[in-house]
Symmetry: D2
Subunit: 349 residues, 4 copies
């Protein structure tokens, strides 16, 4: 890493930085230009940044990391085309992961009906919420363990792997045995204790990007999970917060898909339902996500959105979902990918 000193930094300030670098066990290389001095610290940036912590210190203009702060999730370490398996489905590469189901498990009937519909269409996994993060304490908070039992039944009945959200470390043991993939919501992307615990499980992980997180912070959160030993991580872009509040609910950042693929080997799933917030916007955004290179989609489907307990306006109708999938599939075809559904998964990587 490099430390750029301010114009007019004193020899004492420069010496103090050098001393700190050496105290941290690294080598310092000072190069003084006409106006400013730049000090290189030769060592492992990931540890040096923490050990030095001198951004903002006297005489220091800025600290420039050279190496990326994450390692296990990087493309260099992991390889670009790495794929992995979850519940018999292969993720990444040419396999397109289509996850569908209700926002929230509201009842046995609503969940099993939806599961049957999406299974009949050949999706990759079934989603369904048992624990719901809600900004107000006065809104429906999910059915909890009752919902998990319903999801277990849906899994047994359809054979579909289950994706469900966990908000608290205490819920992890509840979902083990039911879920194949733990979803980490946007608000928990930097719930570090939760990330650590999930890193010790052998479940797949769907890590949603925080509402105002940078790509690097998102990858560092993935690194927390990988650091615990769990590397079957899917990144999930679900829209970021911007100044636009009327046109849609969140701004879907599709540019991050090719960008993250330049630096990380992790697959990227896109959630157009939450970003849109309105049913009519979901199809164009889903198509666009596929065209941008997404490895999958996660969407909400409901037999009767008008009576849904949560996020009805962004749920797709179960009875027209087949046509919806057919429309998106035209772009999946152009991208040379195949939905990893009931047909045997393409094995690659």
């Amino acid at each position: 890493m490099m430390i750029v000193m301010q114009e007019g930094a004193t020899p004492e300030q420069i010496a103090a930085v050098v001393a700190r670098i050496e105290r941290a066990g690294a080598k310092a290389h000072v190069s003084s230009g006409e106006f400013v001095t730049v000090i290189g610290a030769i060592g492992d940036d990931r540890e040096l940044i923490a050990a030095l912590d001198i951004e903002g210190e006297g005489g220091v203009e800025k600290v420039v990391p050279i190496l990326k702060p994450y390692k296990l999730v990087s493309k260099d370490f992991r390889g670009a085309g790495a794929t992995f398996e979850i519940g018999g489905r292969r993720i990444g590469g040419d396999n397109f992961c289509l996850i569908a189901g209700p926002c929230t498990v509201e009842s046995r009937k609503q969940t099993l009906d939806t599961a049957d519909v999406v299974n009949g269409i050949g999706v990759t996994m079934l989603r369904g919420g048992a624990y719901k993060p809600r900004s107000s304490p006065y809104t429906f908070q999910g059915l909890g363990k009752e919902a998990l039992e319903i999801l277990a039944e849906a899994r047994e009945r359809t054979g579909l792997p289950i994706v469900t959200e966990v908000m608290d470390v205490r819920q992890i043991e509840d979902v083990v045995g039911v879920a194949d993939v733990i979803q980490i919501g946007a608000r928990n992307m930097q719930n570090f204790d939760l990330l650590k615990e999930i890193g010790h499980t052998d479940l797949g992980v769907l890590l949603k990007r925080g509402m105002s997180a940078t790509m690097e912070e998102w990858l560092l959160s993935a690194e927390y999970i990988a650091h615990g030993g769990n590397e079957r991580i899917m990144l999930c872009e679900r829209g970021i917060r911007t100044f636009e509040t009327q046109a849609y609910r969140s701004t879907l950042d599709l540019g991050v898909i090719p960008a993250v693929k330049q630096v990380s080997g992790l697959p990227v799933i896109v959630d157009p339902s939450h970003a849109a917030g309105k049913r009519d916007l979901i199809l164009p955004m889903a198509r666009a996500a596929v065209a941008a290179g997404a490895d999958g989609l996660i969407v909400e489907v409901h037999p009767s959105p008008e009576t849904a307990l949560c996020d009805g306006p962004q749920a797709l109708y179960a009875d027209t979902f087949a046509a919806w999938v057919a429309d998106v599939k035209r772009v999946i075809d152009v991208m040379g990918k195949v939905i990893a559904g009931t047909e045997p998964a393409t094995v690659a990587g």
Copy 2:
């Protein structure tokens, strides 16, 4: 429009709001609930909002407009599928508008060479900058009138309509006779005097969205132009500013494409080059823009990006541009659109 009063607003405050509404020539309708009072102001919201200006006034909790603040550019007024013609090319509907050319006119040879290449591929229009908005006074500011002469020659040679940016009302008369489309840059989206003057010309307009503008502000700026009598306006999404600063240059907001089409009849062009800032990201973002429903793309092409005076890293190579277009065209085909190029334009609307 409705005025929601604060809990505990006094009768005097309510009476004062009613008096203001009536002074503005509108009718007031007071409805008092258990906790709060809501006052409806019956009249033209567009004028009332300005005339009343009471957001934040004593006892007022919030002001809720009922009607949209723009009219001439709305779908209701203009129709959803309205198309128009620029330089013999039809814009909107099933016609895909592909605009390509150099970021900046650097020399006669660079411009004419690029014009020949893109013309041979069948693009819709030629872009080229004569006046360049640059954040630092120390960077290249464009060739100005010399560039306009070169563009005029390129137009005569290829027959391609010309798109070029204007930053100042004094430049408008320079571009009349050379340009078919005036581009308004993101930084000038709320340069209201410029918008008014352009509204009085008969040139097409490419109105870029401001870096942190909402959809409504963008449409209000278009309304300024339409208000002057000029309705041949293309909206251009070029990326907004978000917290992501490393992954790409700007966050391309593709969700705004279907959203704007729900409320306005104006065609939407996407500029993936400026948003990406890196050549490798332009193709996936261009494909995604098409899949999201864009009516066109504007991209930068250069015979030798390494020597470009401006934005070289985001310029596509002229000698591989045909293959690039072929790749994007596969998604244009899925969307049922045709590039409005040298072949006769599809006439619709």
Copy 3:
């Protein structure tokens, strides 16, 4: 709450909204204007919004809540000048709460030395981190329980109430008996399970605002805590994320202080250290926070910032802290407040 229908909403769409309102147990009041229809739903907004969930539904333009979504933390419910006591110190009203201490407990000596210094100056409480939220798994994560033992010793030695952060529900039982105030960090502002559990304790709470949270979301998180029965909540503004990344670390939002006091009775503490990220900026921002009406400050003090394991550049020097406090105190005096330190607390409310 009011539902504004789109221009052109059909009678069926209007009837569907009315039916939903009635199904939710509320009354609907339809008022049709020349262009649009507005439907009032008479009932408790807090429950209706959740029960209806129709923002984005067919024919619905927008949903306008009339009542605030929080209640227990509102000024109407709680009173504007309500004060409460923590560890013998009164918070709110004319009492200024000065919290100081190390960012992180690094050692017994560093913590006790700092505690002695700040106690000698007459601060209100001692802060010190045992569990540290860090964006990278490779950085120092805090001493955990060892730190809590040191803090317990500092409390016994100085009599100062202790403020320490909790990131995970499992840590709550560890801090009970040590801490007087649980700090909830910005990244956990919407960790709803943590909020619920803390709502069931009888410790004071310092609730930091999320990095991109709105004031309303912040108050809803406070409402979660109050809903559990715990109303001794201090709001803490610590800077929000904006596009400015070089000038300082976060943008301190001082405008939110008088704004939050217009709607809520909760006291507001400001953390200028994290927002500044540079030592020289802390003093002007602390003074400004006081002048804006803050009820307290929380700052980091270290005997030797150069060797701090975390956030050294934003720590104030222990040996000049008395002068620092004297400077801020001039503005505290202008505001008519008194630091609630070793002198007997002013009793009010």
Copy 4:
């Protein structure tokens, strides 16, 4: 400036960067570490960045400027405590610049009455808008030249220097002879042609910060003006756009005041009226601005805000303005400053 190459950059890519640096007339210094290569470009960063333009080029990870991109407005060039005179008032140093008056000139009586009131209180300058930037074409756009005549009369009558906004280069000649200070609004901060023209005048300049501009972009816009020869520039912070839209109109960024003073010698004026958008919030924000180190305030005063044609809810009442100033003055006193009003200006610098 330094170019950090990607891990795995090829020798050809490194050589290409070196060749570009040398073609630009600078010297390249290559230093290859274990993982990455860093290339230093020795020359004037301000010109090199433009000439090289290789951010995002093949093999380039990032470009790190070493020198600041502005020069004439920097503290190093200009000096920290530099003051200047406008209309007989000294700006900067210990002189506090209090600018007050109507948002918009609505009539001769309203303007002269307000001028008399604020002059009686001893303000530094009179503000008043003739040309108003409005986001909708349907709202009041200002009285234009008629307003300028009224302002000229107010100046003659009171002796107060006049501050008024210019939105278009064609308006500059109208205000010469009337205005002492040209205000550049937030939306025009990057209207580069306007900045250049104003740089050639000998009027003072009040440069508002763009709604989502960084500090560096703001200083670069000031540099445009200084580059034209005009160095009597006051920076004006008026609130930035953030996700908070209910609490106040814009987020006043007071942290930028001490931050900008660390790098630039320009005085900073704060506009709390536009940021607040509500009368009650203006006083605490004004006090906070002073405590953060502002060199002045610009506020809106109206004899009858309820009937104001523009921004009434954020106007202070003329008849209580003296008490308002007295309250703010207590913090001005703490900061050791004196309002540069009708008493002779303190001469410094």
